[in-house]
Amino acid sequence: MSEGKSIIMDTSRCTACRGCQIACKQWNGLPGTKTKQTGTYQNPPDMSYQTFKVVRFAEGKADNGKPYWYFFSDMCRHCLNPGCMEGNKKNEIIQDPATGAVIHTPATKKLDYNTVLAGCPYDIPRQDPKTKELKKCTMCLDRMRDNKIPACVKTCPTGALVFGEREEILKIVEERVAKLKQTHPKAKALNPDDVRVIFIVTDDPDRYHKFAEA
């Protein structure tokens, strides 16, 4: 299945400048939430119905005893056959035929949140406590319909986020992983055949984020 759009999130190029996190807020008109310092650079702490993208900071001790510090610009994977759709009653969660973007429509307020969440291997959907609607990244479907690229990709200064036809994106993923493997044997793409948003990592996926890989 190589039609529709795809995005690369190449963690090896990300410097955690957090431009994507802020561009997503601005484009979707999401408010700057009141946050606290909880002992991490990562803020806001997690996704919510008001935060569709969070740059995750993960640190630990590498095999050579030196620290490592990985940055993971987390977002919905827009799966080819989305697990969250198992929670559908009629078609509250749809898949845009042209781009493949998975959209939680306002009708999701009728769904059982836990069933939908259970279907998602990446822990993405969040619920608005007041309206009960499920909210998440839309791959900027409105921008794509106006043949624009997603806001987060547009603002990324280092080329860590790339957008395009799925065919071309899969080729770029292959080239980048091959090059990275020369210096980082563990380099790999996460679930490239099941998801449209393909993360590239250079170490064990769970060192980046618990739900990095399905």
Binding site: K36, Q37, P67, W69
Partner: protein
């Protein structure tokens, strides 16, 4: 910087130490990445594993305040393993110079130290000279009194084991860093250093940079593409504000401020003008008199005449060696000796060390004038935490200022490139550019003194001040032209004729007979004789292909993009590294970057000049007697460090550093009450004291509150979990913050014992946002570098406990 931002891409090995480019100069990291894509290696040396370290090829930790030990070990490594570039040393440095027999070093002190006055008598640090006064040299570099041998002797004490036990850096890491960087020794490769406040903010700050300069000279990395000693300056126009010398000890163009023991211009010029007997030495500072007279003419115009020493008496004189830097006059302010304080676009209540003292000092003022674009902790000190406004007598004037995009003017970046910036918008409400405030204020002072007279009115009345646009506002372009300087009478120079009132095209044409003016000789040439402002240029040509962009903006001096570039060619004037031809001699002229002077290459014994034209003898100083604490950098512990003794010598701290005596200026070295080393730094999401960035909502969303980074080991010891509220206390003050327990900070093994290190941001202040926390400078000590008095924010002692 000796080089510039784009030049970093030419480097084969980049050392980022004493700075954090990926977080604090993010776009400079683009050029580091370009260098890495061509195979360059990036080394990150920092007490903490930062975002820069996460992108480095090699990371090594070190304890705050031990940079000279770390770099001293590298000098020793370079010398022992013959990594140095011999011809470069012999040709361009004072390595072959023979030093007087009287010079020596014993147990941490150089010869000539007077412990009473805590100063050196530098007589014994002189060179051996022949009868004609020319320095004796040994080009074979073997004579035991030659500088290279003295250097070898001095740094032979910096063994890998001793350095490791001081810095806490594992021996293996030291060896790897030394090998990686010293591989750039010689002509084929170039290594560069990117440093910032991590180096300058120590009591040995200047000497840390001196140590790196020696390394760069040993490896032949100065004056070449991808080399140099490059400071990543923090503020947008800190280079310009330093050039214009808003500093007590220098006048615009780095001309030393006059001292009381130079009663007239002649004695001042004699005091400051360097002399040399060395052949082929341009000794550019011999032109000192032309620059000071041209400066006085730019200030006092017609009133400055040869008869009245060009108004030399109008300029205030310091007592010989008097130091009026910020910590000194805040000390006077705290003692009630300062009545008025003018503070423009700066937030001392947050960034001067020992904030409790600073904030108490502000309350002793009669009046405070503050101009800024947002309110901050300084302007509102009178209603700060724990302050009873009704008891504070200080009058405060808070003047709303225009931001940078609301006025015309120029700015100089770290790479000495001067950019003209255009007014794109208007300030809100009654906001006004600071330039306009100054323009109006001086006009009012002139009127007052003309009407009422007063103490010595002449300097105010004689000051040239016709910088208006005819409608009562400041015309920035007229100031830029005055800074460039004018011919004050018709003259022919450099084979051309110039009319009175035309701008001078180059500082080589400035005179000391009063026929030229120049507000800052370094900027002469920025405005052409026909009035064109070269800082506005946007030419994209790059004929050498080395990223010099000679037609983009203008850079001082005379648009030379890499300083000391004559060191990049051999005696015939051919580039020592052919694939980075910064400069080439074509037989009758130089091609490439603007050369450091048009003289032919060294082969032409008769007419040539040595590369280091700003140094009296034309060579760079491996042996540098100019600084206060010694011709060779020596490791001393921070004034408030963890160790009772300095493992290197009997001298625990810098022997010439100034200590403040007031009870509030307490220091607690090796004090069990404060066992943890602390350093301060900025976060990417904030900027300096946060006086601007803390007013931007989604920057505070990403970085909401002050935090303390600490190791897991220390956290366990104190029973602290990640996210807990902790209290950090020093001998001077305390502050609560959120604990960030991380693997990116680890305890150091120092002299066999475990020393803990923590770090925190200084970006916060009580004024805004409400719960963000206050300034880290409540903790920092009032002590500064022995030469510059840059405060020692980067290494002091604290205690950490659950709040």
């Amino acid at each position: 910087m000796t080089n510039h931002w784009i030049d970093i891409r030419h480097s084969d090995c980049i050392l980022i130490m004493g700075s954090n480019a990926a977080e604090n100069h993010p776009i400079s990291f683009k050029w580091v990445t370009r260098a890495k894509e061509k195979g360059a290696k990036l080394i990150s040396v920092d007490p903490r594993f930062t975002r820069t370290s996460s992108k480095a090829d090699f990371y090594a930790p070190l304890r705050s305040g031990t940079d000279i030990a770390f770099l001293g070990g590298m000098i020793n490594y370079i010398l022992e393993n013959q990594k140095y570039y011999r011809d470069y040393l012999v040709t361009h440095t004072n390595a072959p110079y023979l030093v007087n027999e009287g010079f020596g070093f014993d147990d941490g002190l150089f010869s000539g130290y007077d412990s009473a006055s805590r100063k050196y008598d530098k007589a014994t640090w002189a060179m051996q000279t022949d009868e004609a006064g020319v320095v004796k040299k040994d080009a074979s570099l073997d004579d035991p009194r030659c500088v290279l041998q003295l250097l070898r002797q001095h740094y032979s004490r910096y063994t890998l084991e001793l350095v490791s036990s001081i810095t806490g850096t594992p021996v293996e890491d030291l060896r790897t860093v030394y090998e990686m960087f010293s591989s750039t020794g010689g002509p084929e490769k170039a290594g560069t250093i990117m440093y910032a406040l991590g180096w300058t903010q120590h009591t040995v700050g200047t000497q840390i940079i001196r140590t790196m300069a020696i390394i760069q000279l040993l490896l032949g990395n100065i004056g070449v593409c991808g080399g140099g000693v490059n400071a990543l300056r923090g503020e947008p126009n800190v280079q310009g504000s330093t050039d214009m010398c808003v500093l007590y000890h220098i006048l615009p163009g780095y001309l030393r401020a006059p001292w009381a023991d130079a009663p007239d211009l002649k004695s001042y010029i004699a005091q400051v003008t360097p002399k040399t007997k060395e052949p082929n030495s341009a000794n550019w500072w011999q032109n000192y008199s032309k620059y000071i007279v041209s400066l006085l003419k730019s200030w006092y115009g017609e009133a400055a005449t040869p008869e009245n020493d060009f108004c030399y008496q109008h300029v205030p004189k310091l007592d010989t060696g008097q130091n009026r830097s910020i910590m000194n006059f805040f000390d006077d302010m705290y003692a009630g000796k300062i009545k008025g304080f003018i503070c423009l676009a700066q937030n001392p209540a947050c960034h001067v060390p020992n904030a409790n003292k600073t904030r108490a000092a502000l309350a002793k003022l009669d009046w405070l004038v503050h101009a800024n674009i947002f309110d901050n902790e300084t302007a509102s000190f009178w209603h700060g935490p724990g302050v009873d406004s009704k008891k504070v007598k200080t009058e405060v004037f808070l003047l709303p200022s225009a931001a940078f995009m609301e006025k015309d003017g120029s700015l100089t970046n770290s790479g000495r490139w001067v950019h003209w910036r255009y007014k794109a918008s208007v300030p809100p409400g009654d906001g006004m550019p600071i330039g306009d405030m100054l323009y109006r204020l001086v006009n009012k002072l002139k009127a007052l003194y003309k009407k009422e007279g007063g103490a010595y009115p002449a300097p105010i009345l004689d000051l040239s001040w016709e910088y208006g646009d005819g409608k009562g506002n400041l015309d920035a372009m007229s100031v830029a032209k005055a800074v460039n300087g004018y011919f004050l009478k018709d003259v022919s120079a450099g084979g051309k004729d110039f009319k009175k009132g035309q701008n001078v095209p180059s500082f080589a044409m400035l005179r000391d007979d009063g026929s030229t003016s120049a507000g800052n000789w370094l900027y002469t040439g920025m405005v052409t004789p026909d009035g064109k402002n070269l800082a506005q240029r946007r030419g994209k040509s790059d004929p050498t292909g080395l990223g010099l962009y000679p037609e983009w903006s203008w850079c001082w001096p005379v648009n030379r993009r890499v300083l000391y570039n004559r060191a990049s060619v051999d005696a015939q004037g051919q580039p020592i590294n052919p694939n980075k031809p910064l400069l080439t001699w074509t037989g009758d002229k130089w091609v490439g970057d603007v050369p450091d002077g048009a003289w032919p290459p060294l082969a032409d014994q008769e007419k040539t000049m040595r590369a280091f034209i700003m140094k009296p003898h034309g060579v760079a100083s491996i042996f540098g007697p100019g600084l206060a604490e010694g011709p060779f950098p020596e490791h001393y512990e921070p004034v408030e460090g963890p160790l009772a003794q300095n493992p290197m010598s009997g001298q625990r701290i810098n022997p010439v550093v100034k200590l403040f005596k007031d009870p509030i200026d307490v220091y607690a070295p090796a004090d069990p009450r404060f066992p943890v080393v602390c350093t301060t730094y900025t976060a990417t999401e904030h900027w300096c004291s946060g006086a601007i960035s803390r007013w931007m909502p989604w920057l505070t969303e990403a970085m909401p509150q002050v935090y303390l980074e600490m190791s897991h080991e220390l956290a366990e010891q104190k029973g602290i979990k990640n996210g807990d509220k902790v209290r950090i206390a020093s001998a001077r003050g305390q502050l609560d913050a959120v604990a960030m327990v991380t693997v990116r900070l680890r305890p150091f093994k120092v002299q066999g014992q475990e020393v803990h290190q923590v770090g925190m941001t200084f970006n916060y202040g009580w004024r805004h946002p409400k719960d963000a926390g206050d300034s880290a400078n409540l903790l920092t000590p009032t002590v500064g570098d022995a030469n510059t008095m840059a405060p020692e924010y980067k290494a002091f002692m604290v205690s950490v406990s659950k709040a």
